[in-house]
């Protein structure tokens, strides 16, 4: 039975795998949270994690898992703050055991850590061979021997189950980002699995918090135009969520950054296609009629989001080996720097032709001129006084990839005047393709580990 006036306080501890650690400590210490959520799993990260696990069966969780846990676990447990995170990546169970080790380090014997698994659907995907999303062909068309992983985006239910089992820390693999935040709300308020409006509101809370500092002025600042104070001490946001799904977003008093209607609007629209149909495993959320209200310095309330029935299938990320990328860069400065840069690119292009290096795709650009907006040309008739010529090529073999950077390096003594600071790299690509799988083929599981 939920209390009509109950407020659930949920904070964003990290917005991506490499995010800062200190803001989560600040939230733990000062925000009086009920839940602290760390979102650390990007699209490709889980494929790389699976590769890592193939080398070592105990590996595959996020590289910063232990550092983050050591920083916040004792404080969270003493304050009754529960932790939810997808830092389990390719090995949630091993991650749970490592967290148990950390717990014992701090005298927290008996701590309950739930590992959520079942997102690994590699055998089902290989067996069913579904069609790819957004490109022609089926999964096996990628080359079965090249496929490294297949992970379904799980929703809130297994996390809710873990919380109901009394878990103080919930560690998952691939879960939809908003679901990490929605699950504690479902658990606290008792929202039903088909209460689309509430789930849509919970998904909005998750969508606004999932990138952490982006809500508080990170990825927003534009000096002199959109000023944000104290970015080095950016405070991460947290939400005070009410039983009707409305939520007030704010940050710790005195922390850096700014949370206002503009920062919230930008995060609301972040990575959104159709705002009225934002698909998550739990609900098809509708953010298009969201009402945002400024409640004072660094306090914004969001309400009136909605939702409709969740999709029948779950989205799956398939990780596969896709050749190599070879790259080389070299700088030019002073008068006619851009012209010398373009000459350098032409030389390397011709060298690759002459030496029979086949590239499936070749990209030539000048950093400082057109490496973002390819083909943009000089800005308003003024050429840059410093450029960095960059060539990147997709190749079938590592050797061919290495030749690309090597050709750029030979420009030192064989190319235009004043070339300097050459750098090169050749890396194997782990690419991601997407597909769908029926819910019936995915069985999430919760396993409790006691410290």
């Amino acid at each position: 039975m939920s209390d009509r006036y109950k407020i659930v306080r949920i904070g964003a501890g990290a917005g991506f795998s490499g995010d800062r650690i200190e803001p989560a400590v600040e939230l733990m210490a000062k925000a009086h949270l009920d839940y602290l959520v760390f979102e650390c799993l990007a699209e490709r990260t889980i494929a790389l994690a699976h590769q890592s696990r193939r080398q070592n069966s105990e590996a595959g969780y996020d590289p910063l898992l232990l550092a983050r846990m050591r920083a916040v676990l004792p404080g969270c447990m003493h304050r009754g703050v529960r932790i939810v995170s997808n830092m389990g990546a390719a090995n949630p169970l091993a991650a749970a055991h490592r967290i148990a080790d950390v717990a014992r380090e701090f005298g927290l014997q008996g701590l309950r850590i739930a590992a959520v698994t079942g997102d690994d659907v590699l055998s089902a995907v290989l067996r069913e061979d579904p069609e790819l999303l957004g490109r022609p062909g089926r999964v096996t068309g990628l080359g079965p021997e090249r496929i490294v992983s297949a992970n379904a985006y799980l929703g809130a239910p297994p996390i809710v189950e873990a919380l109901e089992m009394g878990a103080q820390v919930v560690i998952t693999g691939r879960v939809a980002d908003p679901s990490l935040f929605l699950a504690p709300l479902v658990h606290e308020f008792g929202w039903r699995e088909d209460d689309w409006t509430m789930l849509g509101r919970g998904a909005l809370v998750g969508h606004l918090l999932e990138c952490a500092g982006q809500l508080t002025g990170g990825y927003f600042a534009d000096p002199g135009v959109k000023d944000v104070p104290d970015l080095a001490r950016l405070g991460f946001p947290f939400a005070e969520v009410a039983a009707d799904g409305s939520a007030t977003f704010t940050k710790v008093e005195g922390s850096g950054g700014r949370l206002d209607l503009r920062t919230v609007k930008e995060q609301l629209l972040y990575e959104l296609g159709d705002p009225s149909a934002y698909l998550t495993p739990d609900v098809c959320a509708d953010f298009s009629r969201t009402v945002l209200c400024d409640l004072g310095p660094n306090r914004v309330r969001a309400s009136a989001a909605g939702g409709s029935a969740r999709p029948a299938n779950l989205k799956v990320s398939v990780g596969y080996l896709d050749g190599y990328v070879g790259e080389g860069q070299i700088s030019y400065a002073g008068l006619q720097a851009a012209d010398r840069g373009r000459l350098a690119l032409e030389i390397v292009r011709e060298r690759l032709r002459l030496t029979g290096i086949e590239a499936q795709e070749l990209r030539c650009e000048l950093i400082g001129v057109d490496s973002v907006r390819l083909g943009a040309g000089a800005a308003r008739g003024r050429e840059a006084s410093e450029v960095r010529a960059r060539i990147a090529a997709r190749t079938v073999t590592l050797e061919a990839a290495q030749r690309v950077g090597a050709e750029v390096e030979t420009l030192y003594t064989n190319g235009p005047a004043g070339g300097g600071g050459a750098a090169r790299s050749a890396t194997a690509i782990v690419a991601i393709a997407s597909t769908l799988i029926p819910r019936s083929m995915v069985t999430p599981q919760v396993e409790m580990v006691i410290a």
């Binding site: 699209e43 629209l269 296609g273 705002p275 945002l292 057109d370 990147a392 690419a431």
Partner: protein
């Protein structure tokens, strides 16, 4: 996906009229887009553009230095629109 948000809600109708799919496609003509969609959120004064093909196969397959295409958002803010004299 790039969301363009009007500083003032009053300017939204002008943005909606001038920042069309055609104008955005032309601005990014060097990216070899396969299509552009635009979603309107008048309540927020915002236009959501989805640039199909901008990442050349996705963040994990793109050869771009900025494989996510994040820098494209502020790049778009540099677009120059021809405004009617009455504005």
């Amino acid at each position: 996906m790039i969301a363009v948000i009007a500083y003032r809600l009053d300017d939204y109708p002008l943005l909606r009229r001038e920042l069309t799919i055609e104008v955005v496609s032309a601005f990014f003509s060097g990216l070899k887009l396969t299509g552009v969609e635009r979603f309107e959120t008048p309540g927020l004064g915002a236009l959501n553009f989805v640039l199909h093909g901008a990442l050349g196969g996705g963040v994990t397959r793109s050869l771009a230095l900025d494989a996510h295409g994040k820098t494209l958002s502020s790049s778009l803010l540099g677009i120059e629109l021809s405004l009617p004299d009455t504005h």
